[in-house]
């Protein structure tokens, strides 16, 4: 079911259609010559509410990690009341293993700007902020250059071809973060945008009602917005011809459309590849990434950003779509940034690295996350040095199972990252943890009859 032609990557040379060495920045003129902004032009003749219906019909699900229906998210917005309404573009891509948005923004940023414009029109949003992570210095300059091109060509600004939106001239601005993973959490992002610490907010109220500056706000991921132009041009039926329905029955939301997969770790050819949702991981690794490095064997992988947990040794053929959480005992597809580990990798060390990330990035608001992740990290360090005990494994599991938004002990889902990495590592590679632990109890001679 491999894709026959690229969609998001059509101007960004990528295997198997092109060579990444040929990648170049696609400026406004080149972008337009190759069909760019046609979706926006078509959208100008469509009523905003019909645009939302079209996106709803496409069953586009958010590409930022949670996989929430984009059209549904938009429809939560209240009626226009004359005051400002915002779009916050989540370009704070910072989960280890995730680099797909960077490729879009580095080379074909106008795809994103077109999506932003369509979303603004559909949802009556007058101002958009692209929240880009502080570490993406080069990407920031590229994005700013493209923004100026978009202004010069009247996509945004005082003489925008969109006219007025929500009674105002449409504007888009870039807002730089400064190195905090938690600002990728949608309400943490809003706080940071407002000039505060990026502390996630307690919900409700949801951002659709009270988001940035207390006003209705849509927050979408870069890749989600980048695909909107194609949905408008080619229609929702085209979108749904890629990917597939859920295997959990008709009522469960499906996994449709093209998707960028970032592959990293122990593979021969790491990079961003475009595939339909539902592609087998083995397919991605063997065909696109050209197999495991140095002729080694596959041992484990992370399906999409380290928060998702581990796919085990017997899950190499895992089908990567939004069902994969329930099917393979991981948190979900996440950002589809696959990190592959070969047979020589220590799962205990990998888990320690992942937990260190979450400990480091905890914002400190909620005790289970702030304290819990630090304790989990200490226990894992102890185990790595061969100082752990068998009891530690159960303690780890207990700690992991009791922290996070899903057991309901934290405001945001950051602790769930620690939680899933640890509990799936233990569930799927318990023997490895046991191998670096001493027995907790002293052996006692018991007389046998």
């Amino acid at each position: 079911m491999a894709m026959t032609e690229p969609v998001l990557l059509r101007r960004i040379p990528s295997h198997p259609w092109g060579d990444p060495a040929d990648r170049k920045y696609v400026d406004y003129d080149t972008h337009c010559k190759t069909g760019g902004y046609e979706g926006l032009k078509k959208a100008l003749d469509i009523e905003p509410k019909d645009l939302i219906d079209e996106v709803k019909a496409s069953e586009l699900r958010g590409r930022g990690g949670a996989g929430f229906s984009a059209g549904l998210k938009w429809s939560f917005l209240p009626e226009v009341d004359g005051e400002q309404r915002f779009l916050a573009v989540n370009a704070d891509e910072s989960e280890p293993g995730t680099f797909k948005d960077r490729v879009l923004m580095d080379y074909d940023p106008h795809l994103l700007y077109e999506g932003i414009a369509i979303c603004m029109r559909a949802c009556h949003l007058d101002t958009a902020y692209i929240y880009i992570r502080g570490e993406y210095h080069e990407t920031y300059y590229t994005l700013e250059r493209a923004r100026q091109e978009a202004y010069a060509n009247k996509i945004f600004g005082d003489s925008s071809i969109m006219g007025q939106i929500n009674g105002r001239k449409p504007h888009v601005y870039i807002h730089r973060g400064a190195g905090a993973y938690v600002c990728g959490e949608e309400t943490g992002l809003l706080e940071s945008l407002e000039g505060k610490r990026g502390w996630p907010r307690i919900k409700p109220p949801f951002p659709a009602l009270k988001g940035a500056f207390g006003r209705p706000t849509v927050i979408n991921n870069v890749e989600t917005l980048a695909v909107l132009g194609d949905i408008v041009t080619k229609g929702s039926d085209w979108f749904r011809s890629l990917g597939r329905a859920s295997s959990f029955g008709e009522k469960a939301p499906g996994s449709y459309g093209p998707k960028l997969f970032g592959i990293s770790g122990h593979v021969n050819r790491p990079g961003v590849y475009e595939e339909e949702l539902g592609v087998k991981m083995s397919d991605l690794i063997e065909n696109h990434a050209q197999g495991v490095r140095n002729g080694k064997k596959y041992k484990a992988a992370i399906p999409g950003g380290v928060a998702m947990g581990f796919l085990g040794a017997d899950q190499f053929d895992a089908e990567l779509d939004f069902d994969c959480g329930r099917k393979y005992n991981v948190l979900g597809l996440g950002t589809a940034g696959v990190i592959l580990m070969d047979e020589d990798t220590s799962i205990v060390s990998a888990t320690r690295n992942i937990v260190h990330f979450f400990m480091h990035e905890s914002c400190g608001q909620c005790t289970p996350c702030r304290e819990g992740s630090a304790w989990v990290y200490k226990i894992l360090c102890r185990m790595e040095e061969g100082e752990g005990t068998m009891k530690d494994i159960d303690l780890l599991d207990e700690l992991a199972q009791s922290m996070g938004a899903m057991p309901g002990t934290t405001i945001c889902g950051l602790a769930d990252g620690t939680n899933w990495a640890v509990k799936t590592a233990i569930a799927k590679f318990r023997a490895e943890f046991e191998a670096c632990c001493r027995p907790s109890q002293v052996n006692v001679n018991v007389a046998t009859v």
């Binding site: 210095h137 500056f213 990798t345 990330f357 400990m359």
Partner: protein, 190 residues
């Protein structure tokens, strides 16, 4: 870790007569930045970035000046600034070397790279060499997992780094960071 408490109560503030937030910066903030947001506070991050870009770090006096400019309390701006890892509240070296320590980089050689770097400069995480040239910082994911391991030097990204290569780059760095080819545009645009 953003939540570590800073000893602000006993902090000695060094002052100079010349403002950190210069007239030119104020004008730019006034003309370019403030109109973008419905509140003045939202210009906090842009203002902090601006001063740090010029000074290399954020002295407390600068934080006070930003606060005054944005009609905020100094504590509010300080509160925000302390949260973000990329805002430096102490002077750093002329070159900031940020090494990615996340999983893809660790799988592809971060550990070796880090230990060699630490040994070369005899510094560890968040320390600066005695001559004030280099500050080392281990950071979480730089988003370069496909080109792991990755190192960021004053904002310029080095991909698929080997020790020999990065040592060559470091040895060749001019004493004056202004002569360094800092990031402006992405390599793909050149």
């Amino acid at each position: 870790m953003a939540w570590i408490v800073k000893p602000s109560g006993t902090m000695q503030i060094e002052r100079r007569s010349e403002p950190y937030l210069t007239e030119a910066m104020r004008r730019e903030l006034e003309a370019e930045t403030l109109p973008r947001y419905p509140t003045k506070q939202a210009a906090t991050l842009p203002a902090l970035h601006m001063v740090q870009h010029a000074e290399g770090w954020l002295p407390f006096q600068a934080i006070e000046e930003i606060a005054e400019f944005l009609d905020l309390d100094a504590s509010e701006v300080y509160d925000t600034a302390t949260f973000y890892e990329e805002f430096f509240l102490e002077p750093k070296g002329r070159y900031l070397i940020q090494i990615c320590e996340s999983i893809a980089c660790e799988l592809c050689g971060y550990v070796d790279l880090k230990s060699k770097l630490c040994r070369k400069f005899d510094i560890t995480n968040c320390e600066t060499t005695d001559d004030g040239k280099f500050t080392l910082q281990m950071v979480e994911c730089l988003g370069m997992c496909d080109d792991a391991p990755a190192v960021l030097i004053n904002g310029k990204m080095y991909r698929k780094v080997t020790w020999e290569q990065i040592e060559g780059v470091l040895d060749a760095l001019p004493d004056d960071p202004n002569e360094f080819d800092a990031p402006g545009i992405h390599p793909a645009q050149e």
